[in-house]
């Protein structure tokens, strides 16, 4: 018996409305699924569309003038493409939690931490008010904040970056969501704090069987924490691979990302960089969008075409026409 994946994304397209006539594709063909209890890393350079994809999962595309222009996005069987306000209200913050980038505002500066937690807890309209405080302290304990009774009364500016993110995670898990969308949650935080927060996310997954989609540009981090890695380039998902197998990836872009890791190079040794820059939104080349930067490119890669999604192994795929010619 196979268990249905929690999230299914199939050939998803997300456009941004510029003017009444002009639309710009930001994501064009994203395909992957997330199983229950799985931690998926979503990795890509800036402009790859990974943040927009997160917004689609949390239903906040509209605020940026973006919208789903095609494809399928389901959560536990519910169609999120067609979902409107009331449907989202039952999902966002309750079944799908969101942890924003640490560099952004974080907790509301004019509310105490306790007040914000209470707000997240009371999203469940049936939660008894008497238990709110206890639940808030419980959440702060889960995210490993010391002296939660003190923190309850503090404001955002009194906390360190790491603590603020823990609070954001606490708010995100208040309703015991089945999926947490974490968009670069530790970017900009100290590496020791990052390690602790990642451990926290792993603990949450173990205890609550929550699925987590972790967006990052940090390949070593994603490799360490995630079960599966989805690689995005110029608006499309080009590969999905298990983190165990990352050294023999099936797409030249993934290989290039791996090879350009600084931590694996000899000190002062030859650094590999990926040629060129990722194509900017609106300037995507036809055919394979990595063709202009690829070391394995052939003529056929450049032909205008929709690249096939070639299944590899149990869960993975690649969109490279030459995937089986890459050295193992």
């Amino acid at each position: 018996m196979s268990v249905e994946p929690l999230v299914v994304i199939d050939e998803l397209k997300i456009d941004v409305r510029l003017t009444r006539a002009n639309r710009l594709p930001i994501v064009d063909t994203a395909t992957f699924s997330i199983d229950r209890g799985e931690i998926i890393g979503l990795i890509g350079e800036s402009g790859s569309g990974k943040t927009m994809l997160c917004r689609a999962l949390v239903g906040t595309l509209g605020r940026r003038g973006a919208y789903i222009a095609g494809g399928k996005l389901t959560f536990d069987g519910i169609d999120l493409v067609a979902a409107k306000g009331p449907a989202w209200a039952d999902i966002r913050g309750k079944r799908i939690g969101y942890v924003p980038q640490s560099a952004l505002a974080g907790p509301n500066p004019v509310m105490t931490i306790g007040a914000q937690l209470e707000e997240s807890i009371l999203q469940d309209k049936e939660f008894s008010r008497g238990n709110v405080k206890a639940r808030a302290i419980e959440l702060l304990n889960i995210v490993q904040i010391r002296r939660p009774e003190v923190v309850m009364h503090q404001y955002q500016h009194e906390l360190s970056g790491g603590m603020k993110q823990r609070v954001m995670i606490a708010c995100a898990i208040a309703q015991q969501p089945e999926l947490i969308v974490a968009d670069e949650p530790t970017t900009g935080l100290d590496v020791t704090v990052q390690a602790e927060i990642m451990r926290l996310l792993l603990d949450i997954r173990s205890e609550f069987k929550t699925s987590i989609i972790l967006v990052s540009h940090d390949l070593p981090l994603v490799n360490q924490i995630c079960d599966e890695i989805v690689v995005m380039h110029a608006g499309s998902t080009v590969e999905k691979i298990s983190s165990r197998d990352i050294t023999s990836a099936n797409h030249p872009y993934t290989r290039a990302l791996y090879d350009s890791r600084i931590d694996l190079v000899e000190p002062k040794g030859e650094l590999t960089t990926i040629n060129g820059q990722p194509p900017t939104v609106g300037n995507w080349p036809v055919g394979c969008r990595f063709s202009e930067r690829c070391d394995f490119v052939e003529d056929r890669c450049r032909h205008p075409q929709v690249l096939p999604i070639i299944p590899i192994g149990a869960n993975g795929f690649s969109t490279c026409l030459r995937y089986n010619e890459l050295e193992k």
Partner: protein, 254 residues
């Protein structure tokens, strides 16, 4: 010979009646031609210390000597001809360049400060310098806002190099730019090191420190908790804090 040395340097700030010791009685030295990394997390004082070395911050205690001579004369630092020898590259690519100046003009201004050239030749020299940093002729005439973070950082390095310094102090140069821009910038630093530039590299990014440095100082709460050759620090850390730091690198034991 040590190109720069710091002895018993402290920097104390006053804030709302509290005294904050950003840097607490540290000693430091850098042999000429080498690269030293100062690694630490936020609040460690490494940026403040970097600014003391570059003369932008006066220490409350202790002294810094450059090629054996104290850098501070009265309230000034690096007087006269010495000033050009020590340049700095900063973390934030967005704030490092004057937003109202085309970058070639900014470079040309720096060139003219230290070489006797007329405006036209300075601009030509600026274009050449930028090209050697991987910034094309067209991009040279743009304003900073039209360039990427990586390009801005390289333009900042170009500006620093216009003074033909012997020592470059880089404060988190790679922290605000993306992966590929980081690699490009590090490759650039590598070449500069081969040409004999001494570098003080301040960063919280351990992989960057490991890649470029010959010697590493680990900083926490204003003091150097450990220092040693790069290999030693990374493979055989002795202090608790250093061990914790190394263990936090993704890919090491979690």
């Amino acid at each position: 010979m040590n190109i720069i040395e710091a002895k018993d340097v402290s920097v104390t700030f006053e804030s709302f009646g509290h005294e904050i010791k950003a840097v607490d009685h540290v000693d430091f030295f850098l042999p000429e031609g080498q690269t030293v990394g100062i690694v630490g997390e936020s609040g460690s004082g490494k940026s403040t210390f970097a600014r003391v070395l570059s003369g932008l911050q006066l220490p409350t205690n202790g002294s810094v000597t450059y090629l054996g001579n104290p850098i501070q004369v009265g309230k000034q630092t690096y007087p006269g001809k010495l000033r050009k020898d020590v340049q700095m590259v900063f973390q934030d690519p967005y704030g490092s360049l004057n937003p109202r100046m085309k970058i070639v003009k900014a470079i040309a201004e720096a060139i003219r400060q230290h070489q006797d050239l007329d405006k036209k030749s300075a601009i030509e020299a600026g274009v050449r310098l930028l090209e050697s940093m991987g910034i094309s002729g067209d991009d040279a005439y743009k304003y900073p806002r039209s360039l990427s973070g990586g390009q801005r950082q390289r333009a900042s390095v170009a500006r620093a190099l216009s003074a033909q310094p012997r020592l470059l102090i880089a404060d988190e140069p790679t922290s605000a730019i993306d992966q590929s821009a980081q690699s490009q910038l590090l490759g650039l630093f590598n070449n500069l090191i081969k040409d004999g530039l001494s570098i003080v590299l301040v960063s919280h990014d351990l992989s960057v420190i490991r890649y470029l440095s010959d010697y590493v100082y680990v900083m926490k709460d204003g003091v150097f908790v450990e220092s040693g050759k790069t290999e030693e620090i990374f493979n055989n850390p002795k202090e608790e804090y250093t061990k914790k730091l190394i263990a936090s690198i993704p890919g090491r034991k979690l």
